[in-house]
């Protein structure tokens, strides 16, 4: 199963060596948390993930081929 992680600018300010898109291949349904770890991103650093236009929990199980997951990083503001 091919899954793409799309990393926001704020997450790439922390993990500078990572590309904007990371393609991962898995053989069975997998949680977003596990995918983040496979990509070398500690899940604790990630405040939010989006898939199919909606916010998902990091324990959400990804089951669809060609899923695209947007990974947001933390930021300051106000």
């Amino acid at each position: 199963m091919r899954i793409t992680l799309r990393l926001s600018g704020s997450i790439r300010l922390i993990y500078k060596e990572l590309n904007e898109e990371i393609v991962l291949f898995v053989n069975e349904p997998v949680s977003i948390r596990a995918l983040l770890q496979m990509a070398g991103i500690n899940p604790t650093v990630v405040p939010a993930v989006y898939m199919d236009e909606s916010k998902k929990d990091k324990d959400y199980m990804v089951t669809k081929e060609d899923s695209r997951i947007t990974v947001l990083g933390p930021l300051a503001g106000g």
């Binding site: 600018g9 704020s10 997450i11 930021l75």
Partner: protein, 632 residues
């Protein structure tokens, strides 16, 4: 021809009502580019040493960058500068909205005000026509009320800056308001305007800005918008704005609670971005040319009042909310509205009020001192204190001085939990297990401000290296505690953030397109060329950032007696009291760790052990004249 600039500096002396227009100084453009760079240069060169911040001689500066108003994404930032009444040192603050862009369309890149008006006044800039007018009918009124009244009086096409009653009363954390919900909040910038008897500045601009390659800019600007829309994070940022970070800050034990006595809460879901969407929001609200409108305009109803209000942003949620223990988003939003109307910075007000609440709990301040009973979590107590502060009435007169002076005057050990650095109150991030964030706060030129350096994510990544909370749990270990964050290796991360963030302030754009969305810096280089006709590399802009950091550091050495290393420490609570509970339970940065961080930071910056930029460093940065002043 200075492409990208309106080309004129407007100088207004309020004492003799002398109004002067002069060509924008090309040396400033060449060496400092714009925005915060101009502010830094003007304050260092033109302000007489040891000027009292509230004297007629202090300068109030507004400066725009070359990219401002040029139809590229989020190009509406306005920069303000003055000698800060909060810190006695260099001060600047910025805001979004539409004021600065309109000032540029009126023909002015820079506005420098000195002197003091004889009576309450406002400045009206109607393209080339400048007038100082009576503000008698507006004086004493709230910021929103004045902005609305002035729009009715002058016309909707005028953009308005106002101060509230707090600015008139010289509250040292009074802000400037604009656009019904945007503030330049920090360093007491509104109090300086108040000290000059200026209630408001109104501007209408119908001119244009000369562009070197207008066709190229149109093409590149469109490309930039398209690139942003395709970026990961484009859709994720807008829905909740900065409030979307509330739960994360709580999860990593970084949300200030009860005057930084704790760093986590049980009610995050009641005060987060989703709560705003579910219970307050009417519409998104954006600044000039912004593709990701992060402002949330809504309506808040509480038992003590109701209001239309923009926000609250995360910083207000943290400082007026959890730090004062307000547990509902409606109450936080309403307190936010009251702060805005009175014209006080929500960050500083949150620290000052939570300090007073802790003093009251500890018996250091009494019912007689305060004028009534007060408690954490009580909206009525917080609104009472805000009103007393803004009127400088009773206990409010002490609290209006800011937490540093208030704690020095009150004593009895209250200095230990007066949460500030250099006299500027801390903002929304507990940093006892975040060494990069701590270093960023304590070495910032204006005092403890998150806008100068924000690396909490890097700290958490470092902290989490030994295994995050969830990893530990999933590994079968029952723990909710983060390991101690890594101290080694934070210096380059801090320097990168300290140099990158001002780059956008210098250009005159919002940094979020880069910081959050991930827009590549190449876009800025190309847009800069289309607008100004000057080729520039991102490294060149970063070099200006470093120059500004050093110039401001020298400004503080010149203006503040005894300035140096001793001004770069956090309050004792942060190195004496471990965090008592939550994910960071038991953690703190010991004094020797802070000393180590400062030693490494000074060395990396080319500063001596007292934090003074060394002669060679100043010369390297093109600040030979400054080196001469300090080393001759």
């Amino acid at each position: 021809m200075l492409y990208g600039y309106a080309g004129t500096t407007l100088r207004i002396n309020l004492s003799n009502e002398n109004i002067k227009k002069e060509p924008l100084n090309e040396k400033w453009v060449e060496e400092y580019i714009g925005g915060r760079g101009f502010v830094s240069k003007i304050l260092y060169d033109e302000l007489a040493p040891k000027t009292d911040p509230f004297s007629e001689e202090n300068l109030f500066v507004i400066a725009m960058g070359p990219l401002s108003g040029c139809f590229l994404p989020a190009s509406g930032k306005t920069h303000f500068g003055t000698k800060s009444p909060a810190t006695g040192g260099y001060g600047d603050s910025n805001m979004g909205g539409h004021f600065g862009v309109t000032m540029k369309y009126a023909g002015y890149d820079v506005l420098i005000i000195n002197g003091k008006a004889k009576e309450p006044s406002y400045i009206c800039i109607d393209d080339g026509k400048i007038e100082i007018r009576s503000a008698e009918k507006y004086w004493g009124k709230g910021s929103f009320a004045v902005e609305k009244a002035m729009k009715q009086d002058l016309g909707e096409e005028f953009q308005i800056l106002t101060i509230g009653p707090a600015g008139e009363k010289l509250v040292k954390y009074a802000c400037i308001s604009h656009d019904f919900g945007r503030q330049a909040g920090r360093i007491g910038i509104g109090a300086v305007l108040g000290s000059k008897n200026i209630k408001a500045i109104a501007v209408k601009g119908t001119g244009s800005i000369p562009i070197f390659d207008a066709e190229g800019l149109l093409k590149k600007g469109k490309e930039t918008y398209d690139a942003i829309r395709k970026k990961p994070g484009f859709k994720g940022w807008t829905p909740e704005g900065t409030a979307g970070i509330t739960n994360w800050c709580n999860d990593v034990g970084a949300i200030p609670t009860r005057n930084f006595q704790k760093s986590s809460i049980e009610y995050a879901d009641q005060i987060n971005g989703k709560a705003i969407l579910d219970r307050l929001k009417i519409t998104d609200k954006g600044c000039f040319a912004c593709p990701i409108p992060c402002g949330k305009y809504g309506f808040a109803k509480t038992k003590l009042g109701e209001a239309f209000v923009e926000g609250p942003e995360y910083e207000t949620i943290a400082m007026i909310g959890s730090n004062c223990e307000l547990k509902s988003i409606e109450e936080i939003a309403y307190a936010n509205y009251v702060c805005d109307e009175l014209g006080v910075d929500t960050c500083s007000a949150g620290v000052v009020i939570s300090w007073a609440l802790e003093c009251y709990e500890k018996g250091i301040l009494t019912k007689e001192d305060i004028g009534r009973e007060i408690s954490f979590g009580d909206l009525d107590s917080i609104l009472y204190l805000l009103n007393e502060i803004s009127a400088r009435r009773g206990i409010g007169d002490l609290l209006a001085e800011g937490v540093r002076i208030a704690s020095q005057r009150l004593g009895q050990g209250s200095e230990k939990f007066a949460i500030h650095c250099k006299g500027l109150e801390w903002t929304g991030y507990e940093s006892r297990n975040a060494p990069g964030m701590m270093l960023g706060y304590i070495t910032a030129d204006i005092g403890a401000h998150h806008g100068r350096c924000w690396v909490l994510g890097n700290d958490v990544a470092g902290s989490a290296e030994a295994g995050s909370v969830h990893d530990l749990i999933s590994g079968g270990r029952k723990t909710n505690r983060l390991p101690k964050a890594k101290v080694d290796g934070v210096i380059p991360v801090v320097l990168h953030s300290q140099h990158t963030r001002p780059a956008f302030d210098i250009l005159g754009t919002c940094r979020l397109q880069y910081m959050e969305i991930g827009l590549e810096v190449d876009y800025y280089e190309e847009l800069f060329y289309c607008i100004t006709g000057r080729k520039i590399k991102w490294e060149d802009i970063i070099n200006v950032s470093e120059k500004v950091w050093n110039l401001n550091r020298c400004f503080n050495f010149r203006e503040i007696d005894g300035f140096g290393r001793s001004y770069d420490y956090p309050p004792a609570r942060f190195y004496e009291d471990p965090i008592p509970d939550g994910p960071n339970e038991g953690h703190l940065l010991k004094l020797e760790e802070i000393d180590l961080l400062l030693n490494q930071f000074y060395q990396a910056r080319g500063w001596d052990r007292n934090g003074m930029p060394q002669k060679a460093k100043l010369i390297d940065l093109g600040l030979g004249n400054v080196a001469e002043e300090f080393y001759s």
